[in-house]
């Protein structure tokens, strides 16, 4: 088979997963999926190696899903899979790091033969337990845990399992709808893959898969070969929940791979901000790949050359039954830690530190949380502080990095929840000064539409320890969370905004780059 035909089929496979991902966004129920694009979708070979992924909002989902399919194959041997089967899990250590993410993996058959697997992930509206909070002490408190199991067999949905799910979540209709959306997404992928194989007179994905992985791995290795060899270390301290957290990374450039080790990082937290290894691996690899070989497509081959290790029991390799609900609090910080080391190897190539952790407003009200109310609600508003200055460019204001999610429009939030957003403005001067300025954060003020109390499930970082500037650039401003009436709120944990008061959130700025002129 000649090179051009292989390239054409590779492009075709990318369009298959793109269709798969679009189907998921268009049919999903949770705002995180439908507005923010917080999903992943991809195709895998029969060994569970990711060949292609849809371009969606979150590297954390994608790269952890890339590992998850192997767990499915371990639990459900390939030879027992049947057409029309769908399997799912939300196990934080086998899926994508917390219970809110449901991963559905489905076998794809062509002419009666298993040719690959499709997998996709959605962050559902609710998973029971303590809710969106980081207050849990163990994963058991965080909600329903679904081990890897079939949710549909040969096209028939298991209604007993659906009953179990519905009985354990606060929004049964929407969660069930999202599970349907996940199955529809993989079914679209399977149909399109079969069309593609027919049109190309192929019996399976073996040859194409090998080509994709080999070519991608080689391209990454060629990029790595250009780097100076050696080891570099970095350290970043962040707020944490009960105590500050130290993140240490040692980055080693070998001839044909890059190794990142987090030895020396803080131990597990007693609260739900712990990060399972899969999510640590996902964001570390993403951070490295933004600098080394960003043009190389993301798949097993390009991810394989980045090896991530972390001692068990550290906050970046938290062990069962640690609470992990807000694992992104840690995971989103890891590219900044990696860049601290990479900057020494490749001066002038990496950005300054940014807000990094999403400043999502997770708000709600309901009996038992805030008192009796006619208007119970749960809502997540995706929002971001400032990103770090880039080499020769200012940092992006109010923009996430490393996450890539979209925000939720204020008018949409106010339509689905009894809230009024009074202000949403750039926070002037919050980006660190520098030859290149850090991105500014933003200020939001929110009150209850009927002046009732409402709760915030806070998981904010960079309130005590700022995003640091690089090469003489100033640090970004710290974040502030407070009541409109004055008093500060804690940056993490569930708290109630009293009736008639406002929530004021001033999101952090990104670090600057270089000494200001």
């Amino acid at each position: 088979m000649n090179d051009i035909r292989l390239q054409v089929m590779w492009n075709r496979l990318l369009s298959v997963v793109e269709e798969q991902g679009r189907t998921l966004v268009r049919t999903a129920f949770s705002t995180s999926a439908r507005e923010a694009g917080d999903i992943s979708a991809g195709v895998f070979d029969v060994q569970g190696r990711m060949l292609a992924q849809a371009v969606t909002g979150t590297p954390g989902h994608i790269n952890s899903m890339a590992r998850s399919v192997k767990f499915f194959l371990d639990r459900i041997p390939a030879e027992t899979m049947k057409p029309g089967d769908h399997y799912f899990t939300n196990d934080p250590w086998m899926g994508t790091g917390h219970l809110y993410d449901i991963v559905v993996t489905s076998p794809a058959f062509h002419k009666g033969k298993l040719v690959g697997l499709f997998s996709c992930t959605v962050h559902v509206v609710d998973i029971g337990g303590i809710g969106m909070s980081s207050d849990a002490k163990q994963v058991y408190q965080e909600g329903l845990r679904l081990p890897i199991m079939p949710v549909a067999r040969q096209g028939v949905v298991d209604e007993w399992i659906m009953d179990l799910v519905r009985a354990n979540v606060r929004e049964p209709v929407q969660v069930e709808g999202d599970i349907y959306a996940l199955m529809a997404c993989n079914e679209t992928g399977e149909r399109r893959l079969s069309d593609m194989l027919t049109e190309n007179n192929l019996d399976d994905l073996e040859m194409l898969g090998e080509h994709i992985i080999t070519r991608s791995r080689a391209a990454m290795q060629a990029e790595i070969a250009k780097l100076p060899k050696g080891s570099w270390s970095s350290h970043m301290r962040i707020d944490g929940m009960e105590a500050p957290i130290d993140l240490h990374a040692k980055l080693t450039v070998h001839d044909d791979h890059i190794e990142v080790d987090y030895a020396g990082s803080s131990g597990q937290s007693g609260f739900g901000i712990n990060c399972p290894y899969c999510y640590t691996d996902a964001y570390t690899a993403f951070g490295v790949r933004c600098i080394v070989g960003p043009e190389v497509p993301n798949n097993y081959g390009s991810l394989e050359v980045i090896k991530v290790t972390a001692p068990e029991g550290t906050i970046v390799n938290a062990m069962f039954p640690a609470a992990v609900n807000a694992r992104s609090t840690i995971g989103h910080m890891l590219p900044d830690v990696v860049y601290g080391a990479l900057d020494q190897a490749l001066p002038g190539r990496v950005p300054a530190e940014g807000t990094s952790n999403l400043w999502n407003l997770k708000l709600g009200a309901g009996s038992g949380l805030t008192g009796p109310t006619e208007n119970p609600f749960m809502v997540v508003m995706f929002h971001s502080g400032g990103a770090g200055a880039r080499p020769n460019q200012h940092g992006l204001s109010a923009t996430p990095f490393p996450s890539g999610v979209k925000n939720v429009p204020v008018e949409v939030t106010e339509t689905v929840a009894p809230l009024v957003v009074w202000k949403k403005a750039l926070r002037d001067g919050s980006g660190g000064a520098g030859k290149w300025r850090g991105g500014d954060g933003q200020i939001m003020e929110v009150s209850h539409r009927h002046n009732e109390p409402f709760a915030i499930f806070a998981t904010f970082e960079r309130v005590k320890y700022p995003a640091r500037g690089r090469n003489g650039g100033a640090d970004g401003a710290n974040g502030v969370v407070r009541l409109g009436s004055g008093p500060d709120l804690r940056p993490k944990g569930m708290q109630v905004i009293p009736a008639g008061d406002r929530l004021v959130v001033e999101m952090p700025g990104g670090g600057g780059m270089g000494t200001p002129d």
Partner: protein, 682 residues
């Protein structure tokens, strides 16, 4: 048949088509960007002289233009200010807060059309349910007016939160500004785009304000010029929705004229489909810089509610300015004859989206270009005849094309052709799935300078076996204007749950919308019966994306729910049992009936004449080079069957008939390409 003149102003050329009872005439001349009406008036004079028609005999002028689009892309609109709810002036800068290019740390979002010092705030607040939380502070306008005057502002956009639910504050703001700032054009979001999502609505309203003074003066000069020349007929404007409106409506909502050129092309394709009685069609328009693909079902387009203009980053979704207006749904790809090819870090060939455009042009033009382009690849594959390109007026240089291609390796030309066709095929497939459709089994209608070169191969990749190349494909958009119906669409965002839907309230709202649309349509002339389409944009409660559902007059909650479930199943394969549905947005479109064109009749088959030359033609499908017969299109009478491999040449383009395909000239002079042999390798 009446005497009608269609004029399409493009970035490079102004195309004119004159339809008279005795025949159709066309003309093409260079656009005059400084005063676009000059090319229109010169071209009109030349075309009327050529056709021997007096100016007074013209009964209707149909006009489409890229002026508004270009002003947005080149940022050459009016000095514009934005007035917004206190606390929200940064919304248009914060946009969606996202990075559309995941792995590129250097990505930049497009800057808003209005810079921060000209984004001014007014204390006022309306809640999601329309209740006034803070009355508007009218005294605040004193300071605002001072700022606007000091900055010599020409246009103002007003966008308050939830104005699509309660427009009282915006309307009052409009009155105050109009009284204090005579001569300044004012655009209100509740008029331009009464839909939820503050960033999209503000972006659309600003775009409208930004192009309005320019379009206003241009249209006035055009009307004066035409009148002075003796053309006394009404002028109707082509909109992105595929309908025509009056100049007066266009002057109020010029943003609706953006993308009118592609709309004209899509209408041409619909006309060709009707002539040939085709139900499922894929329109394929490929020019120098971009390609556009449009699905047509039984004479109907898929309609979209929004698109992006001025995508600044490799045509990537999210890198442009969102515009929410009714638009014919089409997918636009940065792939045209001028698209430049290169190898990436993995050694893969990448084509576009950057283009060699007309200066310096593809390497083979010999005008200084040195990068390999799609046209260079087409030449080296034998698809173009170097001596007869553009009617022989521009000699093509094979040696220069080969030199440009050398860095890509021996398979460069095949590689470029295959990759660009595959890129378009991928875009078509994703576009089809988003509309719940498939590409296989359709007929492709190909027009634009580069499309007939690539149509057959693209068709193979999409499971399409029939391709039609219309006559006059080079001025396709202007031809399309002649077939466009006069029409207007009104959109309202009004949230309703199906469970609590009141059929009487619904009907009253649609009657109101009909009256608004009818006022616009009747002004443009039609006296007879109008075709009305009511649409609901529906979803299951809790979803974020809607699908369109046709609403019949007198619809009830039950019938609407049933129609939704059926549409949902059609798009996504399976419906979800037991879930409630809701509607966010309603639309009513009103137009003249689309004229039913004469059907193409069958003609007896004729053998092809002897070719004027033979040219080696490489087929990327199998890599084999065969001798192709070169046939001038105008020498082929109706019924002629040209077996592939062949090249059917004309001034504006060349139609490639691959091995295994046959090209037949039908009674309307269109070329029908059909795959006669079984599938070759895709």
């Amino acid at each position: 048949m009446r005497t009608r003149l269609a004029v399409d102003i493009g970035g490079t050329f102004t195309d004119l088509v004159l339809e008279t009872p005795s025949g159709t005439h066309s003309h093409k001349l260079l656009t005059t960007p400084a005063a676009p009406e000059k090319a229109v008036l010169d071209g009109t004079e030349q075309l009327l002289a050529k056709a021997g028609v007096s100016p007074a005999a013209v009964e209707l002028v149909l006009h489409g233009t890229t002026l508004a689009t270009n002003a947005l892309i080149e940022r050459k609109g009016a000095r514009t200010a934005l007035i917004t709810t206190e606390g929200f002036r940064d919304s248009v800068e914060i946009a969606y807060e996202h990075r559309f290019a995941q792995y590129d740390i250097y990505m930049e979002r497009p800057a808003p059309l209005v810079a921060r010092p000209l984004r001014l705030e007014v204390p006022e607040r309306i809640a999601a349910d329309g209740e006034v939380l803070i009355p508007m502070d009218e005294a605040a306008f004193d300071g605002i007016v001072e700022t606007l005057k000091a900055n010599r502002i020409e246009a103002v956009a007003v966008c308050f939160l939830h104005a699509f639910t309660n427009d009282a504050h915006e309307r009052r703001a409009g009155e105050i500004l109009a009284a204090k700032l005579p001569g300044v054009s004012i655009s209100l979001s509740c008029d331009v785009c009464p839909e939820v999502r503050e960033y999209d609505r503000a972006s659309t309203t600003i775009a409208n304000a930004y192009v309005r003074p320019l379009m206003d003066t241009y249209l006035a000069r055009l009307q004066q010029g035409l009148a002075a020349f003796g053309v006394a007929s009404p002028v109707l404007m082509m909109m992105s929705s595929g309908g025509l409106c009056t100049v007066e409506a266009a002057r109020l909502y010029p943003v609706r004229l953006v993308e009118s050129g592609p709309a004209g092309g899509a209408i041409l394709a619909r006309q060709v489909a009707a002539q040939n009685e085709l139900e499922k069609v894929l329109a394929f328009d490929m020019g120098g810089t971009t390609a556009k693909l449009t699905l047509i079902e039984k004479g109907r387009f898929h309609m979209a509610r929004s698109f992006e203009v001025a995508r600044a980053y490799r045509f990537v979704q999210g890198s442009g300015l969102p515009i929410r207006i009714p638009v014919i749904e089409l997918v636009e790809i940065g792939a045209g004859g001028g698209s430049i090819a290169r190898r990436d870090a993995l050694g893969r060939i990448q084509v576009g989206p950057d283009s060699a455009s007309s200066v310096p042009g593809p390497a083979c033009y010999g005008l200084g270009g040195t990068d390999p382009t799609v046209t260079d690849a087409d030449l080296l594959l034998g698809r173009l005849d170097p001596a007869r390109f553009a009617g022989g007026r521009l000699a093509l240089h094979e040696d220069k094309a080969a030199a440009a291609m050398a860095p890509l390796g021996s398979d460069g030309a095949v590689g470029i052709a295959e990759i660009v066709d595959e890129t378009m095929a991928s875009a078509a497939r994703v576009h089809a799935v988003e509309n719940g459709e498939d590409t296989a089994g359709r007929t492709m209608i190909a027009f634009g300078g580069a499309a007939p070169l690539h149509a057959a191969r693209l068709a193979q990749k999409l499971g399409i076996r029939r391709v039609l190349v219309p006559k006059g494909a080079g001025v396709g958009s202007a031809y399309g204007f002649l077939a466009a119906p006069i029409g207007f669409e009104v959109v309202r965002t009004r949230y309703m749950r199906i469970a609590t839907l009141d059929a009487a309230v619904l009907d009253a709202m649609f009657e109101d919308m009909r009256a608004e649309a009818e006022a616009v349509v009747r002004q443009a002339g039609p006296k007879g019966e109008l075709v009305e389409t009511r649409t609901a944009f529906m979803r299951y409660r809790g979803q974020g994306h809607e699908i369109s559902v046709t609403v019949t007059p007198g619809a009830t909650a039950e019938s609407l729910y049933a129609a939704f479930v059926e549409s949902y199943r059609g798009v996504f394969g399976r419906a979800i049992p037991g879930l409630q549905a809701e509607v966010m947005t309603w639309a009513l479109s009103l137009s003249e009936p689309v004229a039913d064109p004469d059907k193409v009749v069958a003609v007896p088959a004729l053998a092809a004449p002897a070719p004027i030359a033979l040219r080696p033609l490489t087929d990327p499908a199998d890599g084999i080079t065969r001798d192709a017969a070169v046939q001038p299109r105008d020498s082929l009478p109706a019924g002629t069957q040209v077996p592939g491999p062949a090249l059917i040449i004309e001034d504006e383009t060349t139609t490639v008939v691959p091995f295994g395909w046959t090209g037949t000239i039908n009674a309307a002079g269109q070329i029908l390409l059909e795959q006669s042999l079984l599938e070759t390798t895709p």
